[in-house]
Symmetry: C2
Subunit: 121 residues, 2 copies
Amino acid sequence: MKQYNNRIEIVLEVIGGKWKTHILYYLTKGPIRTGELKRLVTGISQKMLTVQLKELERDGLITRKTYDQVPPKVEYALTEYGESLKEVLKVLCDWGGDYLKHRYPNGEVTVRNSDDEIGIQ
Amino acid sequence: MKQYNNRIEIVLEVIGGKWKTHILYYLTKGPIRTGELKRLVTGISQKMLTVQLKELERDGLITRKTYDQVPPKVEYALTEYGESLKEVLKVLCDWGGDYLKHRYPNGEVTVRNSDDEIGIQ
DNA sequence: CGGGATCCTTGGCGATACTG
DNA sequence: CAGTATCGCCAAGGATCCCG
């Protein structure tokens, strides 16, 4: 039987890793196709994108909708429960931004999507 | 020059990894000695504890205070800025708890410190 | 266009022993 | 009591090729 040390570990297991937050970042803005994600998530490979999306789907945070057509079209979107992640991501995003300014006031460290925001409706 | 994809990655780099949240968890309750941490953070080795604490100190989240005596006494505490992490940890903690109940309502997955809370003053 | 399979590299982490 | 040094594992992630 699986056991965590604390509740935070659960979140980190769900949104942790190298790509999850970057993917979720775009998903908070609305449904999105695989190719679009691949284009936006800088540097991710086809394989890693698929792997991460499957995990997010397995964890009940996103849905995968396939359109029966050629060429294939697949669209991903946050589930209703996944939507609850938005406020969490926003808090993390805000603190990260503050921390950045606090630690590196002269811009030694930068963020690609620095002027972008988690999509809160 | 270092560059992140988004601000969330910054947070995850600071509190991520296998032990950081578990350590911070106890630090939110007040200053604490090395040995006490080692006792509370179930399963951590002496080495990993030291490594994680050094990283947290390097990142400006905790302070290390040594008392000049034999046997040695070292006490760690959140910095003023580190205190700002509390609300972030609380949000993560809360979401993790919700997610646990939502995904595993029958207790297939459990948390050791489930009835404990992040120390908010 | 979207996904799967295979092979390989790397660094986070563990185990152990030693020091002041 | 607190910290350091060394060795080694393994799973996350990367590169590449193949499929409907």
